[in-house]
């Protein structure tokens, strides 16, 4: 099962290498990884998607915690989260079908950010399902190039009654 780990680390040089090293050395597989700084400039947050059973995830979490630069590890898998990834996709388009693509992208609230003679670049954000759906819907037109970030995730705020 895929787990989403939110890992807070000291914003020190070499931290990313140490985390990546740990995964490869222990034979864990990173599905995706997003790193950025946070509201506290001294802390970076890594959102790591990793595949494994409960036992493996427990070991991953504990081994991550052993790294001195790691401040906190949260497994967000069972929390209510907002999950987003960014997609950039270059799709073949000419004057004939450009309108059709734009209409289609409106449904997904995706945006056209570059128009060329024979192609468009589309930008979209969403969870994994939405991003997959967008790519599928574009395939008939001819997808030329795809760039995606990994998943970023944040736990939803508690709601009033």
């Amino acid at each position: 099962m895929k787990h989403t780990l939110a890992v807070l680390v000291e914003n020190n040089p070499g931290v990313l290498a140490k985390v990546a090293n740990l995964f490869s050395r222990r034979g864990y597989n990173i599905e995706s990884l997003v790193v950025s700084d946070t509201e506290d400039k001294s802390i970076s947050r890594m959102t790591i998607m990793v595949d494994g059973d409960e036992k493996i995830i427990e070991q991953v979490t504990k081994q991550l915690h052993k790294l001195v630069d790691v401040i906190k590890v949260n497994d967000l898998t069972y929390d209510e989260t907002v999950r987003r990834q960014l997609l950039l996709v270059r799709v073949s388009a000419d004057r004939e079908n450009r309108g059709e693509i734009i209409q289609l992208m409106d449904i997904f609230r995706a945006r056209i950010i570059d128009i060329g003679r024979r192609s468009l670049i589309i930008e979209a954000t969403g969870d994994e399902e939405k991003i997959d759906a967008i790519i599928k819907s574009l395939q008939p037109f001819g997808v030329q190039e795809i760039v995606k970030t990994g998943i970023s995730a944040m736990v939803r705020s508690p709601k009033d009654k």
């Binding site: 680390v9 000291e10 040089p13 070499g14 290498a17 140490k18 090293n21 740990l22 050395r25 036992k55 427990e58 070991q59 504990k62 081994q63 915690h65 052993k66 790294l67 001195v68 630069d69 790691v70 401040i71």
Partner: protein
């Protein structure tokens, strides 16, 4: 006070109470060596940086203090790697300093540049590349704190040459507080309660001590618990010397090379209290065949060790001494309800009446003052035989590479042990194979006038690999026999040591006596039969009660 980086290194070492460091100079550490000259810290010039790391490890394990080694950049740093890895696997507190090329040169493949923080990331508890001289004092203080607390381990500090040259204000660091590093000391109250209940009711209880008992200085607490409960005690190789061998309840080492009695006890017991050990494959052999009837209580300071190899019933993360003290207090209070455990019988390993390693180690045990004798070993048959036959009575008197199994560890480790404990008799037990892996450190022993004794058991072979070829590949021996033997007596002479040879049982006592009493560096070569096997042995895929005895 304005100091350069190199002076800050030395001042910081002094403020940590470091009295001895093991090192090898070079271009990237010129300034550090220049500052070291002004200090009272004793520098031991080793013959290869690997020896320096091993010696620092031997020093740390014999004294309980942090061992320190120093090497230059590039090959100096890479030579440390085996020593650091050895210390990492055995949780030895070490701080290793390496020189690095100047910051402006990093990444240019400069002369003697190597990415040592990258290389050592998986074999250190933590490491640092110092970016600014202003950070140096803080980093060194943190390194010592990290190396020596929680589960001990090696920390490496890589210092670019221009950082060592740069000036800054120096203030000694008083307290270290690292927000991302807070080792757990006290065990979880609920878990301790559960453990106490389990222990109280257990009818056949076995306690297994690991290296963590030595690291936490918890030997007394283990003994108190064992006595109260009438429990049987066994040990991993790393735990040897934590529990007095002469105690009736102590059955010796368990595992694939363990004592049959210890293994049988584990497989039969209904409660196993594992303390400061990590269920290594040489201890458990096959995870699901290990201690099948037992409720397992596991005390370890490293949460990642709990449930890693074997599922446990009651996990307790914390310092072994603190956790055991609390368990003991609880048990003491309900002493009346405490079920007394059945105790498993002690059974020794077979010691044939020939000139062989167990026979010699037993003989030696009768000749020396156990409280003032440190035994180091290399890796191989002699190591297993020594672990099984020499009766370790006092903590920190056995120093051996358990986790990584590093041939070449024993002699430099003995150098460190002797430097740290000058009033002890230090015996480096080795074989003719291991001896030649770090033989260069004979130069260090000679130069430092160390009166340590090297006992080299010579069978003209790599005995352990040969034994594995015997068991696993149908006696098709390959690359395990030395066609020509080293003349160890000439070698002794070359390095200013007294050389002795023992070829039969009769002459052994008098020759050993002379070698132990002569007050100088000695090499004793003891001829053993190449066909001697470490028995019993558990072969791969078998439970630890399924032992081959011949």
């Amino acid at each position: 006070m304005q100091l350069n980086g190199a002076d800050i290194v030395i001042k910081s070492l002094e403020s940590q109470g470091v009295d001895t460091i093991f090192g090898y100079p070079g271009g990237a550490v010129l300034e550090i060596y220049d500052s070291l000259k002004k200090s009272n810290i004793k520098h031991v010039l080793v013959r290869n940086e690997q020896g320096g790391a091993h010696a620092a490890s031997g020093y740390a394990r014999a004294t309980g203090k942090v061992g320190v080694c120093l090497a230059t950049s590039g090959p100096g740093a890479t030579n440390l790697v085996t020593g650091i890895a050895t210390a990492y696997m055995d949780s030895v507190p070490l701080v290793a300093f390496t020189g690095q090329v100047a910051r402006s040169m990093i990444g240019t493949d400069a002369f003697q540049e190597i990415d040592i923080t990258g290389i050592t990331a998986p074999i250190t508890k933590h490491n640092y590349l110092v970016q600014k001289v202003e950070d140096l004092a803080q980093i060194i203080a943190e390194a010592f704190y990290i190396a020596s607390t929680g589960r001990p381990g090696p920390v490496l500090i890589d210092i670019p040459r221009d950082v060592a040259q740069a000036m800054t204000d120096y203030e000694p660091i008083k307290d270290v507080d690292i927000r991302s590093y807070k080792p757990t000391i006290n065990g979880h109250g609920g878990m301790i309660k559960k453990a106490v209940k389990e222990i109280s009711q257990a009818e056949k209880m076995v306690i297994c001590v690991g290296g963590g008992v030595l690291a936490a200085n918890a030997a007394a607490e283990v003994q108190q618990l064992a006595k109260m409960k009438n429990a049987t005690v066994v040990s991993t190789m790393m735990g040897l010397s934590a529990y007095p061998d002469q105690a009736e309840e102590f059955l010796g080492m368990l595992g694939t090379y363990g004592n049959a009695g210890a293994n049988m006890a584990i497989q039969d017991c209904d409660c196993l209290l594992a303390i400061g050990m990590r269920f290594d494959d040489r201890v458990i052999s096959v995870p699901d065949k290990f201690a099948p009837k037992a409720k397992i209580i596991h005390i370890d300071v490293d949460p990642a060790e709990i449930g890693k190899n074997v599922d446990v019933d009651i996990p307790i993360v914390g310092d072994a001494k603190a956790v055991l003290a609390e368990i003991n207090d609880n048990l003491e209070q309900k002493k009346e309800q405490l079920v007394q455990s059945v105790r498993y019988p002690k059974q020794g390993i077979p010691v044939p009446d020939t000139l062989n390693v167990p026979w010699v180690m037993r003989l030696i045990a009768g000749m020396v003052d156990a409280e003032k004798t440190i035994v180091t070993t290399d890796v191989g048959q002699h190591q297993v035989w020594t672990a099984n036959s020499y009766p370790f009575q006092h903590p920190r008197k056995f120093i051996s590479s358990g986790g990584l199994g590093t041939m070449g560890y024993g002699i430099p480790a003995a150098v460190g042990a002797q430097m740290g404990c000058p009033d002890n008799l230090v015996l480096a037990v080795t074989g003719d194979g291991s001896f030649q892996m770090c033989m260069h450190e004979l130069g260090t022993i000679m130069e430092q006038n160390l009166p340590l004794k090297i006992l080299v058991f010579n069978n003209n072979a790599l005995g352990m690999v040969r034994q594995l070829q015997y068991h696993y590949v149908g006696e098709r021996y390959n690359a395990v026999h030395f066609e020509r033997s080293v003349d160890f007596m000439k070698l002794a002479e070359a390095y200013g040591a007294k050389g002795y040879q023992i070829n039969n049982q009769e002459e052994a006592p008098s020759i050993l006596r002379e070698a132990f009493d002569n007050g100088v560096f000695s090499i004793v070569e003891i001829a053993i039969d190449v066909d001697d096997l470490c028995l019993p042995i558990v072969l791969g895929g078998h439970g630890i009660d399924d032992m081959v005895t011949g």
